[in-house]
């Protein structure tokens, strides 16, 4: 029989002004297995904690239930006290009678007290069935693999190497650089990309920690955080790299607007990257028209690609630098020059005489060829007039789209993508460079089109996240993981499908097929338990028996109250 101690917290007036704490204490003393029940003004105060500790020792307790506030903030504290008093921390059970009783039922003290009693009874019945658990530790291979050698991957790799971490940079092309090699200057400060590239490479070139794999492709990935095995094809040769963390920096690609505005048919209609090439050769047309949102912000591809307006502003200014008499027009729907530097660039372009015309999706712009030059017919929304602009070059500012091979990377790493094929981070607000899968990180335009500075900040962020488990040298797995009972498991695979973390697989054990959970990957969400038709899947700390005992207790108390 368990020896359970129950400690009910007043939380000052927070709980005690609504819930009759002493009545709950008296009730708790009647519950099976309860050796001692007491109350504290603040269970979490130094005084309250030492009272619990003393009680554990004096009464030789082996289960502790605290009824107070929320486990979210206070469970670690009470677990720690249990450990200090010599009890396994998984033998602690938390009951929330503040949020669930006194706060939500502040106007009904009587029923709030009754509810508190029932919740305490449920906690006590579960506690009796709790089992001690050991947290497992798993080592971490002190190596990172970065996939993609563009600005994102290169920045991440340079940072990891500067942090003294063994780093493999995997690039499918014959040289490092990605889009950086195709763009000569970077907005908004007109940094030379060659210099940036050289500076980043110099960090890698001299270091024995850096391993660059050119003409190499990701072939296969196995394992979990700290213990991945990454297989790459290095121009025909297969190479297996054990790694602690993986960074995805595969970038994006420029959308080719085949058939739009005469692209591919009318001479002089080009994309932004074509223009970059011209400008890098010192060629600046006399008359240039940029058309924004070609292939974006329209049905089918609704998104704004974030960088195209700013790229056009940069290139408009470069044209004027090379050819001061040039006429430059930017036809747009909204100028997306957010923040300080981009707005400054927009202002400079306006001051330098770049003409801005605004079109609407409903009134499309037409490009034709007439008398040796291109004719752009645009309906300007501001002037409410149709305007004809003659041009030598029409630059179609198209969005960045996901790389054609991003689907393969997604499958191999088991990480999700959004409907446009961009990789989907763990949380769009607060985990921008992480995947839900531990140990795999994302940065740069593979996640979302980003400016050079944004790409680099994200790359540094991913490098920090990857460095954390590597520097720590171990990952600790909280013991609330799932396991399958081999006698009941029919290897149906429902759990494999249900698991959002790819932690379950069907494996052979003693000649029998059975679901096997990888503890390092399991997050303890319980999805597999719910999906199991045979009651074979169980979760530590939340077993069917334990939860069943809670429900039994609730029903029993409810029936007694009715009688």
């Amino acid at each position: 029989m368990a020896r359970t101690g129950v400690f009910i917290c007043h939380c000052g007036h927070n709980i005690a002004s609504i819930v009759a704490v002493e009545e709950v204490v008296k009730f708790a003393r009647t519950l099976p297995g309860v050796v001692v029940a007491d109350h504290n003004l603040y269970s979490c105060s130094e005084e309250g904690l030492s009272a619990i500790k003393t009680s554990i020792k004096q009464n030789n307790l082996d289960r502790v239930v605290v009824a107070a506030c929320t486990p979210r903030t206070h469970e670690p504290l009470f677990r720690k006290i249990c450990e200090e008093a010599g009890i396994n921390k998984y033998l602690f059970e938390f009951v929330n009678i503040r949020e669930h009783c006194s706060w939500i039922h502040a106007k009904e003290p009587g029923p709030a007290t009754e509810k508190a009693k029932r919740l305490v009874a449920m906690g006590v019945s579960k506690a009796a069935l709790l089992e001690p658990q050991a947290e497992t530790e798993s080592s971490v291979t002190p190596t990172a693999v970065v996939i993609g050698g563009g600005l994102a991957g290169l920045t991440a790799a340079a940072s990891l190497v500067a942090q003294d971490i063994d780093t493999h940079l995997v690039e499918q092309e014959g040289e490092i650089g990605g889009h950086l090699s195709r763009v000569s200057v970077l907005a908004p400060e007109f940094d030379e990309s060659r210099k940036l590239l050289d500076s980043l490479m110099s960090g890698l070139a001299g270091s024995e920690k850096a391993h660059i794999h050119l003409r190499s492709k990701l072939k296969d990935v196995h394992g979990f955080v700290g213990n991945f095995e990454v297989t790459i094809d290095e121009h025909g040769k297969e190479l297996k790299i054990p790694a602690g963390a993986i960074l995805v920096a595969t970038g994006a690609q420029e959308f080719q607007p085949v058939g739009e505005y005469g692209f591919g048919e009318l001479q002089g209609t080009i994309t932004q990257l074509d223009l970059e090439k011209m400008l890098s050769e010192g060629k600046a047309p006399n008359r240039t028209v940029f058309i924004q949102c070609v292939g974006s912000r329209q049905p089918g591809r609704e998104y704004c690609s974030r960088i195209c307006c700013n790229t056009s502003l940069k290139n408009a200014l470069r044209i004027l630098d090379l050819n001061p008499k040039a006429a430059v027009t930017i036809i747009h729907r909204d100028i997306m020059s957010y923040g300080t530097a981009w707005e400054e660039l927009y202002r400079r372009a306006s001051e330098r005489g770049v003409r801005f015309l605004r079109y609407a999706l409903a009134n499309p712009t037409k490009v034709t060829r007439k008398d040796g030059s291109l004719l752009v017919e645009v309906y300007d929304e501001t002037l409410a007039e149709r305007i004809n602009v003659e041009a030598d070059v029409v630059v179609l500012a198209t969005p960045m789209v996901s790389r054609e091979n991003s689907g393969d990377v997604s499958k191999m790493l088991k990480v999700p993508r959004d409907k446009y094929g961009f990789f989907l981070e763990a949380h769009v607000k607060l985990r921008p460079v992480e995947f839900a899968t531990d140990g795999v990180f994302i940065c740069g335009s593979a996640r979302w089109p980003s400016s050079a500075k944004e790409v680099m900040c994200q790359a540094l962020a991913a490098a920090a996240k990857a460095a954390i488990p590597i520097k720590r040298g171990k990952v600790i797995i909280e013991a609330i993981t799932a396991w399958a009972d081999p006698d009941k498991c029919a290897a149906c695979g429902n759990c494999v499908t249900a698991c959002p973390y790819e932690a379950v697989e069907i494996a052979t054990q003693d000649g029998k097929q059975i679901a096997k959970v990888n503890d390092a990957q399991c997050k303890g969400c319980g999805a597999c338990v719910a999906a199991c038709p045979n009651d074979a899947m169980q979760q530590r700390g939340f077993t069917t028996r334990q939860l069943g005992a809670m429900i039994d207790s609730l029903v029993k108390n409810a029936l007694e109250a009715e009688q």
């Binding site: 939380c11 000052g12 007036h13 927070n14 603040y42 105060s45 130094e46 979210r72 903030t73 720690k80 940072s159 500067a162 942090q163 970077l186 400060e189 940036l196 980043l200 912000r297 609704e302 998104y303 704004c304 974030r306 909204d334 997306m336 020059s337 957010y338 923040g339 300080t340 530097a341 707005e343 400054e344 202002r347 929304e381 501001t382 409410a384 949380h427 769009v428 607000k429 607060l430 985990r431 921008p432 460079v433 996640r447 979302w448 050079a452 500075k453 944004e454 900040c457 994200q458 790359a459 540094l460 962020a461 991913a462 490098a463 920090a464 996240k465 460095a467 954390i468 520097k471 040298g473």
Partner: protein
């Protein structure tokens, strides 16, 4: 508990990093730097960490509850064995050079024995002095002894010395009488601590610009004009109206709401730059008000609809299609009261082929002011020797090291560097952690 996280045995002392500013950027930077094994001293001027994000109701474009996603990070910060919180504290001096900086931190007297205070709130309930509540953006009152908001970290009260009657007049003393924990200390003095730090991170965020200087937008002229941050508080379930959307003049539930973008920003006479986040939060707020008043219709007056992030454009389309949000590309020229003190009349040019000047009535108007570097950040940058850009944000001029200020070992993340949204701030904050690790590796 073991104290060896991130340390590979040999090093006797962890290198220290001071992070200034306890908003989401400072919190994330602290967590990552601490996880990398360094000792972090997080200095926050106000009584609690959390910053601006703590004031927000929900976040775009997923409408995640802001506090629900922030609060766990705040708690992680407080519980992290490598993080020391210095709340209600300010950095007052820095000497030395990277990697041997000496940072002086002033612990302002909060007149509370932190070790004893349990945050129960008994003192707050009994305090007789009511003061303007800055967390609620002036929409309600707080007490002179207060917890800034229910989820404050640390959960310790603070006495506002300027308004406490015991401190100003030696009268009252009620809080001391009711405190069962014996935590009130009217004799407490400011304390100064010196921290030998290898690097400093500035994450001081933003303030709203002073809209009273722009009366043409109706602030201070019409009762039913609020700032976007005031609207966040009004929409928040824990806010001054308990989440009920009502206007100030007569307590009526508005049915017709207007938002004005670029108030003071993208304006040569005020702030030239774009504040980056207003288009999206206005769209979010226009969607959220429908959850409070099902038959409300919102109009957003804007210049360019800058929906450039992941899911942003779709968010705007959804606002138009499903939430009755009307977008008008126009900068209202005049905002006046409509009927006596209630409602607002907005005069604007419609634009397009048949452009005309219209005066339209709205029940309530929300201004989206320019967001400016937070109070004191300019002085702080000067103290650190970090240069400011023309728009007074802290410069990060080297693309190669995009989170470095002009001063070696002084790094910048979040809005303190330039206007940006939460995910960009969080990414930069983590980026700062990598840069700290690089610099300290280099310094040995």
């Amino acid at each position: 508990m073991h104290k060896d996280v991130g340390q590979s045995g040999g090093l006797a002392m962890k290198q220290k990093v001071v992070v200034i500013g306890g908003g989401i950027a400072g919190i994330q930077a602290s967590l990552d730097i601490a996880d990398l094994g360094y000792e972090v001293h997080l200095v926050e001027r106000s009584p609690s960490i959390g910053g601006r994000m703590a004031q927000l109701d929900k976040t775009f474009p997923t409408n995640d509850c802001s506090m629900c996603i922030l609060s766990p990070k705040m708690i992680m910060c407080a519980g992290h064995e490598n993080i020391h919180l210095h709340t209600y504290s300010e950095v007052t001096g820095v000497t030395g050079k990277f990697p041997k900086l000496k940072v002086t931190v002033k612990h302002k007297a909060r007149y509370i024995n932190i070790a004893r205070c349990t945050g129960c709130g008994d003192c707050v309930a009994k305090c007789p002095v009511k003061v303007m509540n800055e967390f609620e953006e002036g929409l309600s009152k707080r007490k002179a002894i207060y917890l800034p908001f229910p989820q404050a970290v640390p959960r310790k009260v603070t006495i506002d010395a300027e308004h406490c009657r015991m401190i100003t007049e030696k009268k009252c003393g009620v809080c001391k009488k009711v405190c069962q924990a014996g935590a009130i200390d009217y004799e407490q003095k400011d304390e100064f601590v010196k921290i030998g730090a290898a690097a400093v991170v500035i994450a001081t965020g933003f303030d709203l610009s002073d809209t009273s200087k722009l009366p043409q937008h109706g602030m201070g002229v019409c009762k039913d004009v609020v700032t976007s941050l005031q609207l966040e508080r009004i929409l928040s379930a824990s806010g001054p109206t308990g989440g009920h959307l009502v206007r100030a003049s007569d307590g009526m539930e508005p049915k017709k709401l207007a938002f004005v973008q670029c108030v003071g920003s993208r304006d040569a006479k005020a702030f030239r730059y774009c504040s980056s986040v207003c288009c999206m939060y206005a769209t979010k707020e226009a969607i959220l008000v429908r959850e409070h008043v099902p038959d409300i219709n919102s109009t957003i007056f804007y210049m360019d609809m800058r929906a450039t992030g992941k899911g942003f454009q779709e968010f705007v389309l959804r606002a138009q299609a499903n939430y009755g949000v009307r977008y008008i590309r126009s900068r209202p020229a005049i905002v006046q009261p409509a009927h006596g003190e209630s409602g607002v009349l907005v005069t604007y040019e419609t634009g397009g082929a048949a452009s005309e000047q219209l005066t339209e009535e709205f029940d309530m108007l929300v201004v989206c002011p320019a967001l400016v570097p937070s109070k004191g950040s300019v002085e702080l940058a000067e103290l650190m020797g970090a240069r400011l850009g023309e728009d007074r944000f802290i410069m990060t001029p080297s693309l190669r090291n995009p989170v470095d200020s002009t001063k070696k070992g002084v790094l910048v993340c979040g809005f303190a560097g330039e206007p940006m949204d939460i995910p960009d701030s969080v990414a930069q904050a983590s980026g700062v952690a990598a840069r700290v690790a690089e610099l300290l590796q280099e310094a040995g």
